[in-house]
Subunit: 194 residues, 4 copies
């Protein structure tokens, strides 16, 4: 079974998630620039989540690039990942409308943590389906980013009860070190061709 339809469906869902988040940016009542003020935290949380979804789309793109055979478990692991990503608009809206308060910040981290776990499950299933000489396994190498992120999300959830600004700092930090594009897979693929 080909992977084209899996990619197309995932792209569709991620594209819709990324776009309906903007519906949380409600048109303000007033007509002056000051009317935009309450929208600012919602906008900032939108920027953060847009970056996260962009990262997921980007990495998902690279990961599936190495995958040749789509099995039943891979299909379901992919839907499981999309499920957690689909909750991001909800947690983003709650966090933005409440100025990054404790409970919404913690819940935001919970959804990020679950999505990261779902991503790892999908990654492991693809590696397993590729057998001993897994291209993806070589490509991700030590995968320190993939291993560190869930730990940082878990830390951010706990820290939120002490200072929700530190949690936000952690979320931004994790996003930043993922924004550096994942050259590993490109490199391994390039090596393979030569």
């Amino acid at each position: 079974m080909g992977k084209n339809r899996l990619e197309a469906f995932s792209d569709g869902v991620i594209a819709i998630i990324i776009t309906i988040m903007v519906l949380e940016l409600r048109v303000p009542q007033g007509v002056t620039f000051s009317a935009l003020e309450p929208v600012i935290p919602v906008f900032l949380s939108y920027v953060l989540s847009f970056a996260y979804l962009g990262i997921y789309w980007n990495n998902h793109h690279h990961m599936l690039h190495t995958c040749e055979k789509v099995t039943g478990p891979i299909l379901w692991a992919n839907l499981h990942l999309l499920f957690w990503l689909s909750l991001i608009p909800f947690t983003t809206g709650w966090m933005g409308e409440n100025h990054f308060a404790t409970a919404p910040s913690a819940l935001y981290g919970v959804v990020l943590l679950m999505a990261a776990c779902a991503y790892r499950i999908l990654q492991q299933l693809i590696i397993a389906s590729q057998g001993r000489d897994s291209l993806l396994k070589k490509a991700i190498g030590s995968d320190w980013k993939g291993k560190l992120s869930p730990v940082l999300y878990a830390a951010a959830i706990l820290v939120a009860f002490w200072s929700h600004w530190v949690s936000q700092g952690i979320y931004v930090l994790v996003a930043l070190f993922w924004l550096i594009p994942d050259r590993r897979i490109e490199r391994v693929l390039a090596t393979k061709k030569t």
Copy 2:
């Protein structure tokens, strides 16, 4: 006529249905974890419907895989299926916001029943278009899941007037036995290649 555009359109519609359901998860007013309480039943109904739509996408994917020629009636039977699926966000929202009460639980079953019938019509049309040696017919075999599901949905609709929790149990049960991926088609395709 190719089937690519049919697949792409169906993927698009299912991806949007699955994602706009999350808009029913309204951002809660409060800022504490207890503010999430009224969202919980809506969330649970979302999980159930996400699973059902995932199942439909998955099976639709497998079924179209065997289909080579898309005729006019197949196009319309596919739109008919998408019509019933498109009502799932509505019934999910009504059911979740009313804590799985009798009338919403029954209506939820009605839409599932109609979608199941629409799926069977589409399946029969594809089999008919494939002629005597239909690959799909061989692949689905006795199709006990496909035959049992509508019966169970009908039972759940009736049972809802007596106990809506038993109805919910039936919906979860049917989803669970579909979640086991449909290996039949994969197996028949594999056999064919050898």
Copy 3:
């Protein structure tokens, strides 16, 4: 330039239009079946518009099938068609929530009329781009459906001021005679191959 991206974009837009219409079906307040009563006219207008959008997608699919070269004017004529189709959720919602009253019924017809004109413009541009032996021109033949529909829409708009139920009857009638799939193009394509 290929037509794949044009098809994919059109599919995406039509898939979203068809699906966001369902958002007009607001979750009712009550918990009994009688709470569904005010939703019924909205549901009926949804069924009608779903059928119309399905017809447009279907015919668009067939029409582009004959098109080999996508020019700038074709791109814009296609966007023009999508523009009018994108207004259907608005007119559907207005019509359904006001029980098919005069003004909404007339406006519904105006949007259908404009979409039909946009479709014809697109069709003429594709025929013109194909030169003298246009496959599409042969395929549509006398195109009586395409010529009659705008006339009937215009009649329905005028008639709405006298009896809006007659207008609705005309809309249903036009939808019904389009629902018969357009075999002309399939037939001409089949002839060409032999």
Copy 4:
């Protein structure tokens, strides 16, 4: 890495942005034609933004047509462009609901300006990735439209504080001269083939 998935994802996001804008066109309360009156400015701002998004989709389509290799930076520059485009429904809604007042008109220009800058960054990255004989560089030539537009947007933002109608005139003007399809790339591609 292929560009197909980049195109598909961009198409998906632009298709959704263009369509959810229509959700700002709220179904009016009244049942007469006069109830449509408050919707008119929202409709006009929708027409303008639909044209802009159509232009972006069209030009994006042509630009990627020349691109053969998708690098990490190109992926991110593309997401950056989609980010600014995704804010258009918000600024469109604010502008339409406030009858093109000063602050919303200026903000509308800011988002158009940022999107234009993002587009140029993406264009430069594609040119850079193509090396010395860049096909895209040849195709865009002097690129006077691309250079003039940001200047006009900046002017419109400033002018809005003096007369917001002049700003609107500038936005319409810029849209109009982009609506003339970009034949340059088609021409260069045609030359290349011969």
